[in-house]
Amino acid sequence: MILSVLCAVISVLGGFLPYIAVYRIITLFLQDGTTKGLVNYYALLALGGYLIKLVFHTFSTILSHISAYTILEEIRLSILDKLMKAPLGTVINETVGRMKNIILDRVEVIEVPLAHVIPEMLSNLLLPIIVFIYLCTIDVVMALATLASLPIAALSIAIMMRNYNQQYSDYMKASDHVNSVIVEYTEGIEVIKAFNQSSTSYEKFVGAIEAFKDYTLNWFSSTWGLMNFSLTVLPSTLLGTVPIGLIKYMKGTLNPSQFAMCAILSLGIVGPFMKLAVFINEAKLIEYAIKDASKLLSIEELPVKHEKAKLKDYSIEYKGVSFSYDNTRVLKEVEFSMPQGSFYALVGPSGGGKSTIARLLSRFWDVAAGAITIGGVDIRNIPLKQLRDTVSFVTQDNFLFNTTLMENIRLGNPKAKDDEVFEAARAARCHDFIMDFKKGYETTAGEAGNRLSGGEKQRIAIARALLKNAPIVVLDEATAYTDPENEDKIQQSIKALIKGKTLLVIAHRLSTIKHADKIILLKDGKILAKDSHEGLIEKSNLYSDMWNTHIQSKSFIAKQREEHYV
C-alpha cells in the first residue's frame, strides 16, 4: 500500500514534467534562444514525463488493487470467523440475504476507496497543489487568479447540495417503493393470474412506475441548471488567468512566458478538480458500508471452555432457567429434570417457548438466569465441541452442503467408514433413492438439486444425525411432516434415530407424543404442569382441551367430509 502511494506520487511528479517542458520551450522561443537540439530535448522530456506518469500510475493501480482485495478478503474472513464464534441464535435471527449483502456487497464497496481513491485521489489532490505552489513561485496573484472560477462553482454546488441529502433519501425511498411494487407484481404474478386480477394489479404496477419516473425526472431536471452551471464554471480557470494576466503584463509585473505558463497550468488543474468532485460524492456510500461491516464485527462472542468436561451420565436438568429476547421475557424460571434414556415432550400453544427451551440446550444463546446441566455439568462449562457431540438437534431445517451426498452424511462422524455411512443411510431410509442417482453416493447435493424432495433432504439430515450417534436427541416433531408424500419413510428414520436415546421433543400433534414419559405443558414461557398424558388429561384443563380439539379436529373433518359426500 505504501509502495502504491509512493508510485502515485512519482506518477504525479512525472505528469508535471510536460508542463515544465512546455514552459521552457515557450520561454526559449520568446527569448529567441531556440535550437533544434533544445526543442528535441524538451519534447523528449515531455514524453519521458508522460511515460513516468503512466508507468508509475499503472504500478500504483495494480499494487493498490492487490492490497485492496487482500484487505477485503481479510475483512470477510474475520466477519465469518466472528459469526462462527457468536451465539447461533444471534446469527439465525438475521436474514441470510441481509448477511450476504453485508459480507459481499457492502464490503465490496470498500474496494473503491482502497483501490482507487488512494492512488487517484492522491494524485488528483497532489497535482493541483503542486501546480498552485509552482504558480505561487511565478506570481502569487496569478496563482489566485487561476482559482477565480472556484468560488463561483462552489457557491452553485452549495446551492445544489442544500437539500441534496433530503432529496437523495426521498429518492431512495421512491426507488425502494417502486422496486417493492415490481417485486410484488412479479413474485405475485401467479396469484394475480389465478385470480384474474391482471388488469387491476397491472394498473397499480404502471402507476407506481410512472410516479417514480415523474419523481426522478422532476428532481433531475431541477438540478440540471445548477449542475451544468457548476460543471461549466469549475473548469473555466482561464476566466481569471487571462484578464488578470493581461492586466499584470500591462503593469509590467508579468512577462510573456510567465503569462503563457499560467494559462497552460490553469488548464492542467481542470481535470483533477473534476475528478475530485466525483470522489467526494462516493464518500457517503463508503461510510455506510464500513458502519455495517463493523456492526457485524462487534457481535459479542459466546464464551467457550476448552477443557473436556466429565459428564457422569446423560441426564438433563433445567434449573430456574429464564431467558429474554429483545427485552421480552420468553422463559420464566423453567425447572425440570430428565433422567438418562427418558422421553420428554414439550407442548403448548405456539409462542409458549417450546423451541426456545430446546434451543438453549444447544447453546443457541446462553440463559439469562439459572442454569442448564447435562450429567451434572453446566453446559457453559462443556466445550462446544463436546456439547455438540452429546446433543443432536433435528429440525425442519434440513440443510445440505454442496458436496457429495456421501460427505453430507459423513459430516455426522468424519471418521466413519463408507460402510457405516451406508448403514446410516439405510436406517434413515435414504439408501434407495440415493442409489437411484446415476452417481449414487458420489452425487453432489447441487447435482441432485431439485430432484431431492423436502422429505429426502430431511432423511439425509437424519442419516447424518444417526451417524453422529449422540446420546441426547432434541427433535422438532414437525420434521416428520416435511413431505406428506413420504411421511412414512421420515417416520421410520426418526424411529431409528431415537432408539435408546435421551429424547426431548417439541410436539405439535398430541397423539404423536402421548406415550412420552413426561409431557411438559408450557404457556407464555412458564411451565404449567408436567406429567404423563393420562395425568395431564386429569389434572390440566388446558391440556385436556387441547387434546379434545386435536381428537375432534380429526373426527370433525372426517364427519364434515362425509356430510358432503353422501
Binding site: L30, Y50, H57, E73, Q197, F220, T232, L238, L246, S553
Partner: protein, 581 residues
C-alpha cells in the same frame, strides 16, 4: 464497444432523435470550450506584439477578452443544459417504457413460463438490471460519443492551423481506440468470470450461514471454512488479474494519447523553429496538447461499464421473443364444469411426464389424485389450468378444449390452492378482497369466517387493516394459508384444484386448515392431490397415477378390492396417521 453504443442508441427507440440533437449540442459545447483557449493564445500574441512594439495592448482588449470568455462560458453552460435536457432524461423514459413492457409480457404469458424463468431473475431484470441501464446508459453515451465529438471537433479546428499535427492527433486517438477496443473485449470476457466468481462467493456465504447450525452441531468448522476461504481467495486473484489487465490496457491507451500530446509539442515547436508556424499558433497548440484528449482519456472506465451494459442488453433481447400461449384464445362462458382428459400426453424437458391419460370428472364431483412422488400429480393439475400446452390429446373443461380459451377466461373458472402461498404487501382485507375486487366488507368477513381466519384476524391489533409483511412474514404459515383459502372462497370459482399437503404446513393448526378447505370445496367440482385417508375414502373417484400413467381409477370401494398401488397407499397411510413416538 461501439457496437454496445449502437445497441444503446437503438434501445432508445423513438427517443433517438433527441439523442442526435444532443450530439449537436455536444459539438457546440466542444466549440465553446475550445474558444477560451484560443482567446488565451491570442492574448499572448497581443502581449508579444506589444513587446515587439507592433501594437500596444489596451485595456479595451482586456475587457473584450474577459467578456468573450464569459460569453463562451455562458454559452457552454446554455448548451450543456440543453444537452442534458434532450439526452439525460432519455434513460429514465426508456426504462419506464421497458418496465411497462415487461409488466405487459408477464401479464400475458402462461403460468408455465414462470417454471422456466424464476421470478427472482425476472425481478432482478426489472429492478437492478434496468437501473444499470437507467443510470448508466446516457452517461456512457455522453462519455464515449460526446468524448469523441469533442476530440474530433477540436482536431478539425487544429486542421486549419496545421494538417500534420491534426493527423498526428487522429493517429493517437485511433491507436488509443484500438487499445480501448481490446480493453472492452477483456472486460466483457472477464465480466463473466468475475460474475461467476461473485455468484460462487454468494453461494458459499449463504451455505456457510445457513449451514452454520449444522456445522456447529457437527463440529466441522474447519471443513466449511476452508471451502469459503478458497472461494474468497479465488475471487481475490480473479479480481486482481482482471484489474491488472485493465490497468495495462489502460496504460497503453493513455500512452497513445500522451504520446500524441508529446508529439504535438515536438512538431509545433519544430515547425515554428523552421519558420513554418507562428509563435502564437505554436503556443495555442501547446496549450491544446494538454486538454485535447482529456475526454477521450476518460473513456477507459466507460469501456469497462459498457461490458456490463452489453450483458444486460443481451438479457433483454432474449426476453423480447416470448410468445403468448393464448394468442388465438377467446373468452368462453361455460355452463357445465365437467373435466375430461382425452388421451393426454405431456413431456417436460424431453421427459415424458404424463402418458396417454384419459378420464372424466363430472360437474360437482370430488376426485382424489394419489400416487408416489414424481408420478405426475401436480403436472396433471397444472395442465387443467393450462400452465402448459399438452403434447397430444385434449383436455376439455365444460366440453370445450382448454386451447380455445384465453388464459384469463379459463382461470375465471378455477381456484388453485397450493402449498406456496403468496400474500401481497397490503392489508389483510385487501388480500382477501383479491378474490373478488368488488366484494363488500361483509362478504370478506364471511369468507374469513368460513376459512377459519376471522378469529385470529380479529385478535390482531388492527384487525382486517393489519398490514401483511413482505411475502406475508408476520403471520404463521398456517395463518397465511387460511387467508389464501379465504381469498379462494371469495372468488367462488366452480372448479377447485388443491394440494392437501397444504395442511401439513402448520401441524398445530391443521384442524383449522382442514375445515377451511372443507368450506372451500363445498358443492364444487374438486380435484385434490390427496394424502389423507378420509379424503380419499370420501372421494367420488380416485385416480391413481404411477410414473405418469393412469394405473387405477374408481371409488374407494372398487379400488380396495383390486390388487395394486391403492392398497399399498392405504396401508402406509394407516401406519403414518397412527404414528406415535
Amino acid at each position: 464497444m461501439f457496437r454496445t453504443i449502437r445497441r444503446i442508441i437503438n434501445w432508445t427507440g423513438h427517443y433517438k432523435k433527441r439523442l442526435y440533437i444532443g450530439f449537436i449540442y455536444s459539438f457546440l459545447i466542444s466549440v465553446c470550450s475550445a474558444i477560451p483557449i484560443v482567446i488565451a493564445a491570442y492574448s499572448l500574441n497581443r502581449i508579444l506584439m506589444d513587446e515587439q512594439g507592433k501594437e500596444a495592448l489596451t485595456h479595451e482588449f482586456v475587457l473584450q477578452a474577459f467578456i468573450l470568455i464569459v460569453v463562451f462560458i455562458l454559452l457552454k453552460f446554455f448548451f450543456s443544459y440543453l444537452r442534458a435536457k434532450s439526452q439525460e432524461s432519455i434513460g429514465h423514459e426508456v426504462t419506464f417504457n421497458e418496465r411497462i413492457r415487461i409488466g405487459e409480457v408477464l401479464k400475458r404469458v402462461p403460468l408455465g413460463f414462470f417454471a422456466k424463468n424464476s421470478t427472482g431473475d425476472l425481478t432482478a431484470m426489472q429492478t437492478s438490471e434496468l437501473s444499470t441501464l437507467e443510470l448508466m446508459s446516457m452517461k456512457m453515451i455522453d462519455a464515449v460519443v460526446n468524448g469523441y465529438i469533442f476530440v474530433f471537433a477540436t482536431i478539425s479546428s487544429l486542421m486549419i492551423f496545421s494538417i500534420p499535427i491534426a493527423l498526428l492527433c487522429i493517429a493517437g486517438v485511433l491507436l488509443s481506440g484500438v487499445f480501448l477496443y481490446i480493453l472492452n473485449k477483456f472486460s466483457s470476457k472477464s465480466i463473466d468470470k468475475v460474475h461467476r466468481s461473485q455468484e460462487e462467493m454468494a453461494g458459499a456465504v449463504i451455505e456457510y450461514i445457513r449451514g452454520m447450525g449444522v456445522v456447529k452441531s457437527f463440529g466441522k468448522k474447519g471443513a466449511s471454512f476452508n471451502v469459503i476461504k478458497k472461494v474468497f481467495r479465488d475471487n481475490k486473484s480473479i479480481n486482481i488479474k482482471v484489474n491488472r489487465n485493465f490497468a495495462l490496457m489502460n496504460c497503453l491507451h493513455l500512452m497513445a494519447l500522451h504520446g500524441a500530446a508529446a508529439g504535438i509539442i515536438w512538431m509545433a515547436s519544430s515547425f515554428t523553429l523552421q519558420g513554418q508556424m507562428e509563435i502564437f499558433h505554436m503556443v495555442m497548440m501547446l496549450m491544446f496538447s494538454f486538454s485535447i484528449f482529456a475526454k477521450v482519456e476518460g473513456i477507459n472506465d466507460a469501456a469497462h461499464i459498457l461490458g456490463t451494459i452489453d450483458a444486460v442488453l443481451d438479457h433483454f433481447e432474449e426476453f423480447r421473443d416470448v410468445d403468448y400461449i393464448d394468442k388465438d384464445g377467446i373468452d368462453v362462458k361455460l355452463k357445465g364444469f365437467n373435466i375430461e382428459f382425452d388421451d393426454v400426453s405431456f413431456s417436460y424437458d424431453n421427459q415424458k411426464v404424463i402418458k396417454n391419460v384419459s378420464f372424466k370428472i363430472p360437474t360437482g364431483s370430488k376426485t382424489a389424485i394419489i400416487g408416489p412422488s414424481g408420478s405426475g400429480k401436480t403436472t396433471l393439475c397444472n395442465l387443467i389450468a393450462r400452465f402448459y400446452n399438452v403434447d397430444s390429446g385434449e383436455i376439455r373443461v365444460g366440453g370445450r378444449d382448454v386451447k380455445e380459451f384465453t388464459c384469463d377466461s379459463l382461470l375465471t373458472n378455477i381456484s388453485m390452492v397450493f402449498q406456496k402461498v403468496y400474500l401481497f404487501h397490503d392489508t389483510i382485507e385487501n388480500n382477501i378482497r383479491f378474490g373478488k375486487p368488488d366484494a363488500s366488507m361483509e362478504e370478506i368477513k364471511k369468507a374469513a369466517k368460513l376459512a377459519r381466519c376471522h378469529h385470529f384476524i380479529s385478535n390482531l391489533e388492527n384487525g382486517y387493516h393489519t398490514f401483511v409483511g413482505e411475502g406475508g412474514s408476520s403471520l404463521s404459515g398456517g395463518e397465511k394459508q387460511r387467508i389464501s383459502i379465504a381469498r379462494a372462497i371469495l372468488k367462488n370459482a366452480p372448479i377447485i384444484i388443491l394440494d392437501e399437503a397444504t395442511s401439513s404446513i402448520d401441524p398445530e393448526n391443521e384442524g383449522y386448515i382442514q375445515s377451511a378447505i372443507a368450506e372451500l370445496t363445498k358443492g364444487k367440482t374438486v380435484i385434490i392431490i390427496a394424502h389423507r385417508l378420509t379424503t380419499v375414502k370420501n372421494a367420488d373417484q380416485i385416480i391413481v397415477l404411477d410414473k405418469g400413467e393412469l394405473s387405477q381409477r374408481g371409488s374407494h370401494e372398487t379400488l380396495i378390492k383390486e390388487e395394486g398401488i391403492y392398497r399399498q397407499f392405504l396401508k402406509i397411510r394407516r401406519e403414518v396417521e397412527g404414528w406415535s413416538l
